[in-house]
């Protein structure tokens, strides 16, 4: 008999719900984005995000159940994001999920949002652990060794801004609307990637950690030098995007080769960036393979939560009423 999983994602400003059959067939996948609401503030306002989640959960749930042709009685498992993320939004989604599980007397599994991003590239058996995972988004830049049986080891992370955060901040300074990081990519298509050469950050202690604040400051200073004409803006966008991608690709491949890992997975919002995808493909050595989620699954979504929750459930995880949201939940 098929196992139907309902995934619930509310870690930041997207309310997501998805229904997944046996971890393979997507019966429904809906996302309500608050981007328009937060745009006028230039970033996510946690209190507003929490309020919108509370208002959107019920209509979204009704819409995914209709799309899946099910009622709540047809759901066998609830998978909900428990962290990391903004604590207000996390609490709303997790409390809703726990009460659904209580009402229907079905199991619940708390999902690490980062694990969701990592495993979204594994959906439909495209790749299986072990692999080296890079999560890069507006909130995270982490390099993780992913082993069988959910054995994760954090190998490197950012020491300052996340990759997506740096793109967002530079884009915002250029006057691009929120979320500016995504807009940089389209602007960069018209620019010269070599127009401004940004240095590659190297850690004095030889670690594989990332750092984007130096190149971010360099980009901001570059903007102050001369008037930002449309041509210069495009050039700067292309050059800055190139520097961010170069650091991500160089570090990831260096770690992969040192550890003899042949399979790489990239997840998170920045994984949708076309230049990052191409650069990885160009730099791969023979025998190395890279896997990206479908572009629609790179941003926060509930399908990845449903899938990761399904995998966890199959591996024997069961969470109870004591399940708690944790803003700084670690993956290892």
């Amino acid at each position: 008999m098929a196992l139907i999983t309902l995934g619930i994602e509310t870690s930041c400003d997207e309310t997501g719900m998805a229904v997944l059959e046996d971890g393979q067939r997507v019966l429904a996948n809906s996302l309500y984005s608050q981007v328009i609401i937060h745009r006028k503030f230039g970033g996510v306002v946690p209190e507003i995000a929490s309020r919108r989640h509370l208002l959107k959960l019920v209509p979204l749930m009704e819409s995914v159940l209709t799309a899946a042709g099910l009622d709540l009685g047809g759901i066998d498992l609830i998978a909900a994001t428990r962290g990391p993320g903004l604590i207000g939004p996390l609490l709303v989604g997790l409390c809703f999920a726990k009460a659904l599980a209580l009402a229907r007397n079905i199991p619940i599994v708390g999902v690490n949002h980062l694990e969701g991003h990592l495993y979204s590239a594994c959906f439909n058996g495209r790749v299986k652990p072990p692999f080296l995972g890079l999560i890069v988004s507006g909130g995270h830049t982490e390099l993780i060794s992913v082993g069988a049986g959910f054995r994760h080891r954090l190998l490197a992370s950012t020491r300052d801004d996340a990759g997506g955060e740096a793109l967002d901040k530079v884009g915002k300074a250029m006057g691009l609307p929120y979320p500016a990081g995504a807009k940089i990519e389209s602007l960069a298509l018209r620019g010269d990637r070599q127009a401004v050469i940004f240095p590659l950050a190297i850690m004095k202690d030889g670690s594989d950690d990332f750092s984007f604040s130096g190149i971010k400051t360099a980009a901001l200073l570059e903007m102050r030098k001369r008037k930002l004409t449309p041509r210069r803006r495009a050039d700067l966008a292309a050059s800055f995007q190139e520097a961010v991608c170069r650091q991500l690709v160089t570090r990831t491949l260096r770690v992969a080769r040192r550890r003899g890992v042949k399979h790489l997975v990239v997840g998170g919002g920045v994984a949708a960036n076309g230049r990052l995808r191409r650069m990885f493909q160009e730099e791969l050595a023979p025998g190395e393979k890279i896997f990206f989620p479908e572009k629609g699954l790179c941003t926060d979504n509930a399908l990845m939560v449903a899938y990761a929750g399904y995998l966890r459930y199959k591996a024997g995880q069961r969470d109870g009423d004591a399940l708690e949201a944790k803003a700084d939940l670690k993956i290892t």
Binding site: V45, L54, G88, C95, F96, A99, A101, N105, G320, D321
Partner: protein, 209 residues
């Protein structure tokens, strides 16, 4: 009253709530499907606490096709004293808000509804506004900040400045509302965050770009 539960000291509301509901039902050999309605204190109060209760109540009512009842926190507070047999002609209930302000509302006793009913809308003001209400003959019931207690007690000797809303009162008011068909729309239901008061600066004063 079939049962009452409270979180242990230091236990987070989100961790406690579903466990408490399960425990209360189990103690009476009930299951969630035996419920007819779920009632929540709809605020004002802690924003996060209200959302935890609302998210839980919405899921329960949606999953079990129950009725949802929203009972304003000040209404619960106004009637919490009545549970103990006290009855005032004019009553004002108050709770602390942010920035030194209080949420408050005035009530009169309704024999038709057998409870205190709100006279007008919710208001927000300073401790002097509460003292003025006491000067007009209202009995005050609420929770004063420690710094304000002396001021309030001077203006309204014998008033209750350390009262909390009681969950038993919430249940009693909800039962009345349920019988009268005062059910809320599950999809649209949201807490009273800052009725009659200036929204907090992170909402109203946020710099727009």
């Amino acid at each position: 009253m079939l049962g009452v539960s409270s979180p242990r000291r230091g236990e987070g509301t989100s961790r406690w709530l579903t466990r408490a509901i399960r425990g209360l039902l189990a103690r009476r050999k009930l299951v969630a499907a035996d419920l007819a309605a779920v009632a929540v204190a709809s605020g004002p109060g802690s924003f996060t606490g209200l959302r935890i209760a609302f998210a839980t109540a919405k899921a329960l009512t949606l999953a079990l096709e129950l009725r949802l009842l929203l009972i304003p926190t000040l209404d619960i507070l106004a009637n919490s004293g009545d549970d103990q047999g006290e009855r005032a002609e004019k009553l004002a209930a108050f709770l602390p808000y942010i920035g030194g302000e209080y949420h408050f509302a005035c009530y009169h006793y309704s024999t038709r509804y057998t409870c205190y009913r709100r006279k007008r809308g919710y208001r927000a003001g300073r401790v002097d506004d509460l003292a003025a209400l006491a000067g007009d003959g209202a009995t005050l019931i609420g929770l004063a900040r420690e710094d304000d207690r002396e001021h309030i007690l001077r203006a309204a000797p014998g008033c209750s400045a350390t009262s909390y809303p009681k969950v038993q009162t919430l249940a009693r008011l909800a039962w009345g509302g349920y019988q009268r068909g005062e059910w809320a729309d599950i999809g649209r239901a949201e807490p009273i965050y800052s009725a009659g008061a200036t929204p907090p600066s992170f909402i109203s004063g946020m710099k727009r770009v």
